[in-house]
Symmetry: C2
Subunit: 392 residues, 2 copies
C-alpha cells in the first residue's frame, strides 16, 4: 500500500488495494452411480455441511426418490428446491426462488448448494450460490451431456435478462463437480446430440481426435445413451472434458475474449432467442458451427473437405444443418451484439484445419450470402436427418 | 491437471481445474474537486471507454448539472440512471433498472459503470456492474463520509432480500475509487456522524490514534463538514482509509470470518431492519459498538474507562446511545442470525483496550441484561444529544 505525502495540497493522494486469489476444484467421475448408497463421492464433497438441494423438475420426477434416499443416509439436507430447467425459464424469478428457500431454511454461510440438472439448472443454482450471503459453496451434479462436458467444467454462471441469453451472470467457481454418466440413460437422442455438438466444437478447433472418434463411434454412443461400449464412452467424455479444461483454465475469467470455446457461439444466441428458445442450445451451436465453417471456406481459410466432414458428422449425429432462422439480417444483428459482448471485437472462431482455428474480425453480407448458399447446396445432396424447426 | 488412468473401471477419474487471480485498485483523492473541468482523475480512470453513469437521486439533484458538464467534456457517456440511495430501496428492482439501461444503450463488455452516491448507491451500481455481461469495470465516486472511508474501500457489494440486509451480494472489486471530500459539504451533521461511527469503529479495534483525533477535533470537523481545517480532515480520512485497507486487504474475500471490521456489525443489521430502516446504518453501528463494549466490560475483558470514553465520544459526535429497539429478545435473535452468516461462529468483536479487540463466541441473556442496564445508567448521567428514535 502506498500513501503519498499528505501535507502537499497540490498532490493527489493515492492508496492501493491488491489481492491475489487462488482456487481449484475437481471434476470427479465416481466409480459407481452418484446416487448409489455405497458411493460416497457426493457425501465427501459436502463433508457434513448443511445442504440445500436444487433439482430440475424432470430430474426430480425421475430421481427424486433416489436423491431423497441418498440425502437421508449421507447428507445434512435442509430442503430441496425444484426449478424449471428450460432456457425460457432461465430467469431471475427462479434464482430468487432458490435464494428465498435458502433463507427460509437458514442455510448458513458455510452451507452448500448442490444442484442436479442440465445446463440451465446448474446456472440457476450457481447464480443463487454466488449471491446468497455473497457466496456459498456450490457442488454440481450435471445430468445432461452438455452439462457434463461443457457447463460443469467452467466457472460461468448466467441467466437470461429481458429475453437476452445469459445477459447477466457471474464467474463463480464451483467447489466440486461430480460427473455421473448414468444420468445419460434418460436422455433423448436429440438431447444427447446437443451435447455431442459441444464435443464437435472442441474437436474442430482444438482436438481433432474427438472428430475421428465421433465419426467412428458417435452414432453408436448416442444410440446406447453413452452407456456402451463403456470404455469408449468414458474415453470420449474424459477427452472432451480434458480439452475443455486445457482451453478454459488459462483464461477462466475471460480476460482475453478471443476464445476457441466460442466456436459455434457467435450466431447461436440470436438464433436461440429468435426461436423463442424452441431451438435447443446444441442445435443452435451446430447451425453456427456449420455457418462459421462455410464462411471460412468462402474466405479461403479452410478446405471445403473439412466443411463437408463437419456437415456429414452433424448430419450423422442428428444435428440440424439448416433453419429458416438463418437469415442474413438476423445474422448481421448477432454480429453487432457479439461485438458488444467481446469488447468491440468480433472474434468469430473459424476452423482452418482439423483441430486448429482462427478468429475473424469482419463478416460481410456477401460472406453470409455465400455461406448460406453453400449450406443450402449441401442440403440438396442428401436428405437431412432432421431440420431445426422447433419453436418456429 | 491430473487424469487418472481411464481403463480401470473400479477407480474414480479425477480432473482438476486451478486458477490464480490477481487484482488491484486505487483509492485516489484528487487534487481538485472530481467534477472540476480541470480535474482529470475520473476521465483518466475510464480512459475513453463507454460509460454508464449511476447517480443517487439526491446527488443528481445537487450535482447533476456539473456531472453532465464534466461528462460532456471528458467522458463517452451513453446514459445516466438515477436510483433511490436509501436502505429501504436497496433491492433487486433498482439493480434491474441499472442493468436494463445498460442493455438499452448497448453498454459493451469493455464499458464502465461509474457511480456517484453513498453506500447504498455504490452497492446497487456495484451489483449491476458485477452481473451485467458477467462483469464490467466499475468506478466508485462516493459522496458520503460512510462511502468514502468504508464502502468504497472494500470489494463487498450487496442488496437487501426479503427485508434482510445485504442477504444477497457479491465480492466484486472496483477498478477505481475517487474520494472527493467536497461532496461532504452537502451532508447533514447526522449523516456525517454516521461516517464518523465507522471511523470510531476502526479506532476502537485497531488504530487508537483515530479516537484521540476525533475526541480532539471530531466535533469541529462535523461542524465544518470535513472542509476545515483541511489538513486535519484529510489526515483523519486518509488514516481511516489506510487502517481499513490494512484490515481488509489480507482477507478481502472473508475466508476468515473473525473480522475486526465487524465491530458494531453484529446487532446492527437486526436493529436497522427492526426500525424499518428508519435508523441510519451508522446510528445502528454506534448502538452496537456501545452494547458490545458494555458486554466486554461486564465480562471483565475491557476497562470501564474505555466504555465511558466510547460513550462520551459517541455523545459528542451526535450518535445515539440508546434506542427502544435495544431489547434482549431482538438482540438474541440477531446473535442467531449472525451465527448463520459467520458459519456457526458468533465472532462478536469486543474492544479489550484502545485499538485492540477480541472475539466472543457466546453472549447470554444475562450479559445482555447487564450491558443494557449499564448503558441505561450512563444515560442518566448526562442528557443525550439525540436518541435513535427514527422509524419507530
Amino acid at each position: 500500500m502506498t500513501v503519498l505525502p499528505i501535507d502537499d495540497p497540490t498532490k493527489r493522494r493515492v492508496l492501493r488495494v491488491s489481492c491475489q486469489r487462488e482456487f481449484s476444484y475437481t471434476i470427479l467421475h465416481p466409480a459407481r452411480p452418484v446416487l448409489d448408497p455405497e458411493e460416497l463421492a457426493l457425501s465427501e464433497a459436502v463433508a457434513g455441511r448443511p445442504v440445500l438441494l436444487v433439482a430440475d423438475k424432470n430430474v426430480w420426477r425421475l430421481f427424486g426418490k433416489q436423491i431423497c434416499e441418498y440425502a437421508g443416509r449421507h447428507l445434512n439436507c435442509l430442503a430441496t428446491v425444484t426449478v424449471h430447467g428450460t432456457e425460457r425459464r432461465k430467469d431471475w424469478t427462479q434464482i430468487r426462488k432458490v435464494c428465498s428457500e435458502a433463507l427460509r431454511v437458514g442455510l448458513p454461510r458455510d452451507g452448500v448448494i448442490v444442484a442436479f440438472g442440465g445446463g440451465v439448472t446448474l446456472d440457476l443454482a450457481g447464480m443463487a450460490a454466488s449471491l446468497y450471503r455473497r457466496g456459498v459453496a456450490y457442488v454440481r451434479v450435471p445430468t445432461t451431456l452438455v452439462g457434463i462436458i461443457d457447463t460443469a467444467v467452467g466457472i460461468k454462471q448466467g441467466f437470461n435478462f429481458e429475453s437476452r441469453k445469459n445477459m447477466l451472470g457471474a464467474f463463480y467457481p464451483p467447489e466440486g463437480v461430480i460427473n455421473d454418466i448414468n444420468f445419460l440413460r434418460t436422455l433423448s437422442s436429440a438431447e444427447l446430440a446437443c451435447g455431442v455438438a459441444e464435443i464437435i466444437k472442441m474437436g474442430m478447433v482444438r482436438e481433432g481426435s474427438l472428430i475421428t472418434l465421433l465419426e467412428d463411434h458417435g452414432a453408436t454412443l448416442i444410440r446406447n445413451n453413452f452407456q456402451a461400449p463403456t470404455g469408449l464412452a468414458m474415453e470420449v467424455l474424459l477427452r472432451a472434458e480434458r480439452v475443455m479444461i486445457e482451453e478454459l483454465q488459462p483464461n477462466l475469467f475471460e480476460k482475453c475474449q478471443a476464445r476457441l470455446a466460442d466456436f459455434g457461439h457467435t450466431f447461436s444466441p440470436a438464433l436461440e432467442r429468435a426461436s423463442g428458445y424452441g431451438l435447443r442450445h446444441g442445435e443452435a451451436v451446430a447451425l453456427d458451427m456449420v455457418l462459421s465453417t462455410a464462411i471460412a471456406v468462402r474466405r479461403g481459410l479452410c478446405a471445403e473437405s473439412l466443411f463437408n466432414r463437419l456437415v456429414d458428422l452433424c448430419r450423422k449425429m442428428g444435428l440440424p444443418l439448416e433453419s429458416p432462422l438463418l437469415r442474413p439480417e438476423l445474422l448481421l444483428c448477432s454480429v453487432h451484439e457479439t461485438r458488444l459482448h467481446r469488447s468491440g471485437d468480433l472474434n468469430l472462431v473459424v476452423p482452418v484445419e482439423l483441430g486448429r482455428a482462427d478468429f475473424l474480425q469482419e463478416v460481410t453480407l456477401d460472406d453470409l450470402d455465400h455461406a448460406l448458399a453453400m449450406i443450402e447446396e449441401t442440403s440438396y445432396e442428401q436428405p437431412l436427418c432432421r431440420q431445426a424447426s422447433a419453436g418456429l
